[in-house]
Symmetry: C2
């Protein structure tokens, strides 16, 4: 129903598509077209576009009618080229039907091979190949795949029947089949040893099973087979595996997949046949050498299935030299190597290539940019620049900013991760990987860490009392709490890996047991695993996955390649990158990572130390202004000292300090001992402290008594903070260090609150300057984190010298989503169903939140042309969001220290992207 | 510092201002100017504008300099007219200094009389008046007032010294002063019996006290006195009394007050002097007759102080005829009566007039529109129309829509309320007044009500199990919960008065005691009052006040005047008025009050009945779709039956039904018994039900898993509701009744959610229509209640046929304020400090929320020109908000049944106001 071309043919050196059409043809389809055009030997075929898949999602099977004529025409082209006919009883053409999205999603969607086999064509194939066993084996594989993928039948009865056949073989050889099962049986009796008669019987058994289960015979019409397979490929875009993969890799559900139909070639037609895969460079280090694996007399699926051990492709890459393709088939190896080099030169990138040799003839089945480690990505990009094959900008664009995480944090060995099932998934609250023994208390964490043991602190949720244990632990795992929970915020600040809000675990801190509800693919609880203190687990704070046992860990690795690439990036970006940091240590870390200032110093975290929290609690339970003043006086020296340290670290760079933001009850004592302590110090009864705590409880604290609202009701708190900032600034300035404080007020929704805050500030500043006999320059600004503040930005800018967009809270209020709750309730469903392309807390919602940011920018700058604009939500470290902030002309983004390099690279990419866009 | 005139003179038949300048001169100043121009005898004086007061709030005492010259010039004019001089030792001019805001705020701000008295001028006054006692009494009063108002000293020592003087008199008469104290002493020895020597001694004592407390002598410079008094008047605008008054009466803090300085006249210069007040009509019934009170030989303050009993002004208005002014001074009475009639005719409204007779000469000190009851307001307006003095439009404009509340609900006798201190204040959750005995349980409420007893149900908070008790009670009082709490919502629906979230009370339901923390003026807890079951209290759900004992109750009273005026209003308004109603009873009530449809039928309240809540709980704890379906099947007949009832009541009028909105945990069982019951029915363990409840708990439920999000995660809930609606509609339509259902989806933030909801709806509709073999027409629309929904209104309108603005939630998210919390935390402070003119939950925030409504209107109508726009938040019944909704062109507002007449009148006023504005 569309005018757009829906089916693209490729074959015999000429393709209708090309490598640039990834969006339309998918990665695989575009690669096949390009290879064909390059004269690489590729079996002919055609690609049904991703647009058809999108239409299929909306309109279902009706779209198959629309493409029917085009598909049949292209099928005719294939028949002409290979000299075989689809469904022909004598000389049958077999095809593969494969998915292929814009981005590679290996193994996530469905594939059907050997399509076109029926009882009739199988006989024809047997005759033509002169190998009946080969034909029946192909038919057996096809019926199994088709029954699973298209007809939706369980694989189990098919596997069971196959095992039965294996057991027959085993028995015939005198092996006791009752003692040899599962993988062991498969190793003892590989598929290749199952005979023709057995295979034929299997196919009959399978067909009977299909008839029984579906009420219809296995389809003997090859076109019906084809339409079914195409629909199944389209449907597989939305299978749970693929949906999960997209979620993890931030791919939108709206893309859809292309579908590639291609003439089959066989690597299992005897000893002159083979199949294999290769990289043109080492994907782990980036070193240029042909690295791959192959198997003689095998189909592609055998290489990855792990039953036969694949052999190395080239000499000197591990494994015996005489097993290599280079040794076994030197001419074909050389032909392949030349083609591989040609493809790498053509695409100017490392290629991941699949090939099949059928009876001595080489075919390339796929080429694509190879997945690589962060380290390899850097090395490849820089070597390509040095070789003059790409320019610096292209090198910058080639690096996935998120891949820098692998260089900045320890990571779990990706190869091991790929084949290991996590026992639980939580929120990726703080990146990096950690391996260690489970401990349940902060004290135990400290004790064991003191003995040099690596520990993971596992808690229902953490609280300020756990800080020493969090510092001692290699990683933190919590059952409750979202991305802004205490555990998450503190861990990010410390750079400690953290998985938070892991709802599948329940922690019994008293009995020292953590129970993990193991779930099956569709999320049903199937089993409970109990782990105890000392049991080792591994966790990946970058993905939120938790594993049992010790997975191999790769340390952080910053190379010269990194520095070189980042220098190129910095030269190109216009967006500045600051950091969110609350301590001198954060400041130092971030400065090392290239931060150009502090964009968000949260003052409340300074109140959480052991020595401070009690003074803060005195402030909160105070019933009069005077009592409150006493507690504040105790806090003042701590705050001042923190600020001095931060100002020294950030010499010459701006430091944006946000005055107290969270609701007061976050600081309140929880346990009886804490309440008793506060009661003793404050002279109040424990009962009245409990009552105070209850009074402060709010049904929606996110929309509660916090931020500037505290300044309006308790002006003395902000006054104390302003004093601490200015006293610290005067002291550090007195040491000859340039200080650039920027005082920032949170949660305003209009001008008047800011005005009152400014009056408090200026009154206190006057006093401090008079007392010290010296002054410092400072700026005064505000967060824009409520929709009303964005709308009233024009008048707010009359007072504010800068805006910092608090996109976390702005997202919560604009969309009406509580960040701490939504991850465990409806948000994952919203993303899975494509209602939201991504979590709006990960990547900014451009259409809603983004419009408010643009409105505030326009109105703010209309009032105050030089208004400085930044953003300090979690989005500041997200590449997609950084691009948006660049595009709309903010001055800076601010993110956690470990994401500063990611933001720098993202900002450079955004600048290059908009430069390129303006050229076209 | 402004070009605008700051001081307006009036005197001798000519004034610089007039009655139209209320905004600038305040009500009092404008009235004095107008009276002067009319030739009414008014002591000369001048008015300092409200603009000066606003400037004073910003810049403080500096503004006094700006007005100095103008004030002194005007003072000179007064001196010329009265032939006395300010500060003159022989013939001193005394002045009064009074506040006067745009709207009357009786007694809330400060007044200083007799200003200009010093030791020197006092002697001069004594000599000139030939009455030293009069002069010293005036001086004594002045020093007391000035010390209190300007110097900020406590009144107590002054009162104590005065009492001491009274005791001397008492003793000299043989009364035992130790046995006669307080009010009794004042009655025994009125001020008039304290002698000249005593007064002189008192003044000296007072002056010594001032010197001791302030370190400075009492000011003897009359100009210093004047500037101090003017500043004090300006400052009194922000005193706590005035701020509270403004809050109650919805007056913005930004107005400021004018300051009136006027030559003193004295009603206490002997038996030919007098003072009094009068209304030109009966303020309680509206009947036209001169009604007032007076006292011979008295100052104005004596009339209101309550020590001397004032006499009636006219014969036949109660009290002995020989005590009336009409009898005592017939010529002056006739002169006053003629002036009063002249003023009423001039202003075409009932006047409230203050007068003083000084030695046989009549002065009018103030005239203003008299405050009146709702009933009187209607009668007066309609009589004025009949007399041809105002037109219908003016009559409509004359009625305060809120005053209709007095006609629609029982009210506490306003005269009694005025002199009774509430024991506590909560949220005005549902209007009307109630008097009854305290009960603590729903069962007890039902039992006592069954015996014919009036009861007030007092609870910490209510829950669905309390419904039968809420129905039985005359009123509801809760300690916790906001305007959207269960108690508030249910009470409004029932039309039962309710005061919610009364934080000063704590309810011990077990011991059957409610403790009330009594607070002093500044909110300090001074005493705890304990009330028990059976104790009688009175509450006013319109103001949130709670009183001890039984206050007199006036029943609702709808008269012919009401119907006539509402008919005039309906003929003029263009905005339609619907109601929020969840039951057939609500629908009937609202229809009687003139509702033109239901704008919001909340389906969740239908799940709260005793017989229904358990089925709903089964739905929630269900672990599979099938289990959920079982519970939903039980709910279906209830929902269907409710809808049938509503459709019948609203025949021919549209009924907008909102599908399930609140988070599921609101329905969960709380007590062990409830849990046990659900466990039994559902077959789940109590532990798993508790775990389910814990899982559903959210940190910010307002931003949680509710509204359309439930439809995305549990589509079968909305499907059941749609089925109930359509089945009910088909049934009722089959009875020959026109049904116009409008199905509304809550909490969407974009198009896709609405699309999915529509698919659920249409699939179910198809089934229902097929089953029934009949169809009904319905409309499909959405709430706009999140900022993102307003911004994305363009694409949302592609699907929605109507928008209903949910301004409650839109206010919460736009301003980031939790409605349930803010009233007890920062919001009152925000209003008191003028950061917000009014609570944004009472009256729509035009600048923030209002802009989003306008954006949604523009974008929605750009996509779908005929898009129907309504509003169903609490704002739909607020006159200020209704005006806004009229102005921006919405089609209708929807409010609770009892506010429908208020909205109709407000809509008419808005239409007239914009018609008038377009003419000028």
């Amino acid at each position: 129903m569309t005018d757009r071309k829906q089916v693209y043919f490729f074959g015999a050196g000429k393709a209708e598509g090309n490598a640039k059409q990834k969006e339309l043809l998918g990665g695989k389809g575009a690669g096949l077209a390009e290879m064909t055009n390059l004269g690489v030997p590729v079996p002919p075929g055609f690609t049904i576009t991703t647009e058809v898949s999108v239409a299929y999602m909306e309109r279902g099977a009706a779209v198959i009618k629309d493409i029917e004529a085009d598909v049949l025409r292209s099928l005719g082209e294939i028949e002409k080229l290979v000299g075989m006919r689809f469904g022909d009883a004598e000389n049958p053409l077999l095809v593969s039907v494969r998915s292929g999205a814009r981005a590679s999603m290996p193994g996530m969607m469905d594939t059907i091979l050997n399509l076109g086999l029926t009882d009739e064509t199988c006989a024809g194939l047997a005759k033509k190949a002169g190998n009946a066993r080969f034909a029946w084996d192909a038919y057996r594989r096809f019926v199994t795949m088709y029954s699973d993928v298209v007809l939706g039948l369980s694989r189990e009865p098919f596997e069971e029947a196959l095992d039965e056949a294996r057991r027959e073989v085993a028995q015939s050889r005198g092996i006791d089949p009752r003692r040899t099962q599962g993988e062991e049986l498969k190793r003892q009796v590989p598929d290749s040893e199952i005979g023709e008669a057995q295979l034929q019987k299997l196919v009959q058994k399978f067909q009977a099973h299909v008839l029984e289960k579906t009420g219809k015979p296995f389809p003997q019409d090859v076109r019906e087979q084809l339409w079914g397979a195409i629909e199944a490929v389209f449907q597989s875009w939305n299978n749970p595996r693929a949906a999960t993969y997209r979620k993890i890799h931030n791919l939108p559900a709206s893309w859809g997949t292309a579908c590639n139909v291609q003439a089959m070639v066989f690597g299992n037609m005897g000893e002159t046949s083979a199949t294999g895969v290769a990289f043109t460079r080492d994907p782990s280090t980036g070193e240029r050498r042909l690295l791959g694996e192959w198997l003689p007399n095998a189909q592609g699926e055998d290489v990855v299935a792990g039953i036969r051990t694949p052999r190395k492709l080239s000499k000197g890459t591990g494994g015996p030299a005489e097993e290599t393709l280079e040794f076994a088939m030197p001419a074909l190896f050389n032909e392949f190597n030349a083609l591989a080099q040609k493809l790498e030169e053509h695409f100017n990138d490392m290629q991941d290539i699949e090939f099949t040799i059928q009876e001595g003839k080489l075919y390339l089945l796929q080429t694509r940019s190879g997945k690589r480690s962060g380290k390899a990505a850097l090395r490849i990009a820089i070597e390509l620049v040095r070789a003059g094959r790409i320019d610096e900008e292209e090198a910058i664009m080639r690096i996935d900013p998120e891949a820098l995480n692998q260089l900045l944090h320890p990571v779990l060995d990706p190869e091991v991760v790929q084949r290991t099932l996590p026992i639980a998934r939580g929120l990726n609250a703080s990146p990096g990987a950690a391996v260690g023994a489970i401990v349940f208390t902060a004290d135990e964490a400290e004790r064991r860490a003191g003995r040099g043991e690596a520990v993971i602190l596992v808690r229902t949720e953490t609280s300020p009392e756990d800080i020493h244990g969090m510092k001692a632990a290699k990683g933190i795992l919590t059952a409750r709490g979202g991305m802004t929970s205490h555990a998450a915020v503190v861990a990010r600040g410390m750079g400690t890996p953290c998985v938070a809000g892991t709802s599948a675990i329940s922690v019994d801190e008293r009995k020292k047991i953590v129970r993990v509800a193991l779930a099956d693919e569709v999320g049903r609880n199937v089993q409970t695993l109990e782990l105890r203190e000392g049991d080792v687990i591994s966790l990946d704070g970058g993905t939120g996955s938790v594993y049992r046992g010790a997975l191999p860990l790769k340390p952080a690795q910053l190379s010269g390649d990194y520095s070189e690439l980042m220098a190129w990036a910095d030269a190109r970006r216009t967006l500045r990158v600051r950091t969110n940091g609350d301590t001198p240590k954060d400041a130092r870390t971030a400065r090392n990572y290239g931060a150009e200032g502090i964009g968000l110093c949260r003052t409340e975290h300074m109140f959480f130390g052991d020595d401070r929290i009690n003074a803060m609690r005195e402030v909160i339970v105070a019933e009069t202004k005077d009592e409150r003043a006493l507690g504040l006086a105790k806090l003042l020296p701590f705050q001042r000292e923190d600020f001095e340290g931060i100002f020294r670290e950030m010499r010459g760079l701006p430091v944006t300090i946000r005055l107290l933001d969270p609701p007061l009850h976050e600081f309140l004592p929880h346990t009886e001992e804490q309440i008793a302590h506060v009661a003793q110090v404050s002279g109040l009864s424990a009962a009245s402290i409990k009552r105070r705590a209850e009074e402060l409880t709010e049904s929606n604290p996110m929309l509660g008594h916090r931020g500037v609202r505290l300044a309006i009701t308790y002006p003395e708190i902000y006054a104390m903070q302003v004093r601490a900032i200015l006293e610290a600034a005067i002291t550090v300035q007195g040491e000859g260090i340039e200080v650039l404080p920027e005082i920032m007020i949170p949660l305003v929704f209009g001008k008047r609150e800011l005005q009152i805050s400014k009056e408090i500030l200026e009154a206190e500043a006057k006093k401090v300057f008079a007392e010290r006999g010296r002054e410092v320059r400072y700026q005064f600004g505000t967060m824009i984190e409520l929709p009303r503040a964005a709308l009233r930005a024009g008048e707010i800018a009359e007072i504010a010298e800068f805006f910092s967009f608090g996109t976390n809270d702005l997202t919560q209020t604009t969309l009406g989503i509580s960040r701490d709750d939504a991850d465990k309730t409806f948000l994952p469903v919203y993303v899975a169903q494509g209602i939201l392309a991504r979590s709006p807390f990960t990547s900014i919602d451009r259409e809603g939140v983004g419009e408010l940011v643009r409105i505030a920018r326009d109105r703010g700058r209309a009032t105050r042309p030089g208004l400085k604009l930044g953003i300090c939500g979690e989005h500041g470290g997200d590449p997609h969001s950084v691009e948006f902030f660049h595009d709309i002309g903010l001055d800076y983004v601010s993110c956690s220290p470990f994401r500063v390099p990611i933001a720098r690279l993202s900002a450079a990419q955004a600048a290059i992207r908009s430069k390129r866009a303006s050229k076209t």
